[in-house]
Homo-oligomer: 344 residues x 2
DNA sequence: CTGAAAGCGCTAACAC
DNA sequence: GTGTTAGCGCTTTCAG
């Protein structure tokens, strides 16, 4: 493995000069630089980032900390898209991503700061954490720069990027209301997720603004899981057959809800309208295709990475982004059955 | 940041002893060890892997080199599942994964060995490479241990894990033949992919064994892309309306083929049977659900990682695995229309 | 069982 | 412009 020492010897200069030349410092003779660069290339030199990191105290690596990258959790490619976005940006800006997966017990034994310090990551991007995850508390206490996805915590060293979940949910419910629905249920994720709280807020807001009553019994949790949502929806539709629409806090849960409806002989959308959230790939391929609120997951990761590197480079701008969402109208929602007319 | 030096001072021993105690060497007094361990814990010490790596010349990191992790390429979560599997195994065995994405131009400028040497990765896992990717040639020349996904190259330092693509394809086509089909086309990926070559081989083999003629015009490439496959299928079905079944080398292309058929007013499966490959998530959700050959992508990654670490630990076993596939029967294939009876 | 010393490859004062 | 020197945090001979 060739080192700057080898280059120095061949070029007949000191290692310092080699270091400076290769790192683009200005205070080195242009001819010497060219010579050094040429020799380095000839000798097929690559810098040792470990050694460099040891002295600069910067590793040029970002930790990507995600909960649940295990076999079962791949149904939506949310994590992967965020990861892709983050990686795209990070590598453009000269860093590399290292994966921290908190689901393997091996890593769980270590604290957040242990994980980070061992690898000397310069910063971390966190995704998929529950609101009460112990790691989250550590993030706040730690002074390692961190960008959170969908968790609004902010300090000198922590920022976040999220979407406007209240507005997104409101848009979905308003759409249903606009279609003529008055009895709209909510299948939410779970209270450990920030986005669930916000989406419920949007749901409530939309109903209130339309002067529609809020029924607590119409709000159920589906844990962001298709099967669990199916169970919840089945229960809901059985005990409240007058419901004509349900807004689900994820597309996966919308899928589950549709299955539940179908199992009861209900046609979607004619007898029951369903609107999802996320716009996962499945949403456009399922039958019926799911009307949903789209969020740009790639962008979520990209922006998080961008903010993080900004932070590392000392740019003192706000480290918060809120992305917008889009209503994607497809086939799973339509006006309610005309029986509602009898209500007058 | 607390170092072993700090611990040494507090514990009143030398750094050597601290190092040995913390690394579980046997030649240190049990009492001293306990004291050191206790102090390390109290001081919240984490080892600096950069420093360690610098001297041991091992970084405990594995590079995951993938082509195409960009925004557009996330339609099947193939890469993500392989990644998850690899990460699961790697982290169990005490390593971490660093992502090398060859789609960003930043990384493309660097050669394979540069990428690896800069980060001093101990080994790499490669996925999604085309057969003529320049990186691939470098892998062979390099002495860095490398496990390939779906590319059968083998040497002292390189191994691979793949599935039995010939058998998989053969199984698919045999299934179609068993259903009564005699005119079976193939929408393949592209010749730059090893798996395509093999799947074509399986297709041909199955037809031959059934004494069915091979028509070159019935074999088209869809580039593993839905849209491209749709175009290819449209062309194929238009010029050869007597085809009753098509085997696609990926589910995404099966989706495209179904769309093409539908656009021509053909019912799938009643007028055209379609069998896919991969068993991506979409396959079970689309309408009709796609009959396909399933491969365990998570396992692909897991095994690659396992072999790689074996290699790094000097275990001199074979570094090759061939996983089996499963035929998943769903709704996109059925016996051909009875019109074939007229053929007699 | 423990310590002193060297050195991994690199950067960064500081001097010339 | 360039070289000398020290040192990042750790492991590893080699002595004792």
């Amino acid at each position: 493995m060739v080192t700057i020492k080898d280059i120095a010897r061949v070029a007949n200069v000191s290692v310092t000069t080699v270091s400076r030349a290769l790192n683009g410092y200005s205070d080195v003779n242009e001819k010497t630089r060219q010579k050094i660069v040429r020799i380095a290339k000839e000798m097929n030199y690559s810098p040792n980032t470990l050694a460099r990191g040891l002295v600069t105290n910067k590793s040029q690596t970002i930790g990507f900390l995600v909960s649940g990258m295990n076999r079962s959790a791949n149904k939506d490619n949310f994590t992967f898209e965020v990861l892709s976005g983050a990686n795209e940006c990070i590598s453009k800006r000269g860093y590399d991503l290292v994966l921290f997966n908190t689901t393997t017990s091996k890593q769980r034994e270590k604290t957040y700061s242990q994980l980070c310090r061992e690898r000397r990551v310069d910063g971390v991007i966190m995704q998929g954490m529950k609101i009460d995850d112990p790691y989250l508390k550590e993030v706040i206490e730690s002074d390692i720069p961190c960008m959170l996805i969908d968790i609004p915590i902010q300090s000198k060293t922590v920022g976040y990027v999220t979407t406007d979940n209240v507005l997104g949910a409101k848009t979905a419910v308003n759409y249903l209301i606009g279609l003529g629905h008055k009895k709209i249920a909510l299948i939410n994720g779970h209270d450990d997720a920030y986005v669930s709280l916000k989406r419920k807020e949007g749901y409530v807001k939309a109903l209130k603004e339309a002067n529609l009553p809020i029924h607590k019994e119409w709000i159920l949790d589906g844990g962001f899981l298709e099967e669990q949502a199916q169970l919840a929806a089945a229960k809901l539709l059985k005990s409240h057959p007058d419901i004509t629409a349900v807004f689900c806090a994820s597309d996966l849960m919308a899928l589950g809800t549709i299955k539940a409806a179908r199992a009861m002989g209900l046609d979607v959308p004619r007898q029951l309208s369903v609107v999802g959230y996320d716009n996962i790939l499945l949403a456009s391929y399922s039958a019926p295709a799911i009307t949903t609120i789209a969020q740009d997951k790639f962008q979520l990761g990209y922006q998080a990475a961008d903010h993080l590197v900004d932070m590392l480079e000392g740019k003192d701008v706000s480290h918060v982004s809120t992305l917008t969402t889009d209503l994607i109208i497809r086939e799973s929602a339509c006006p309610p059955p005309i029986t509602v007319a009898y209500k007058k």
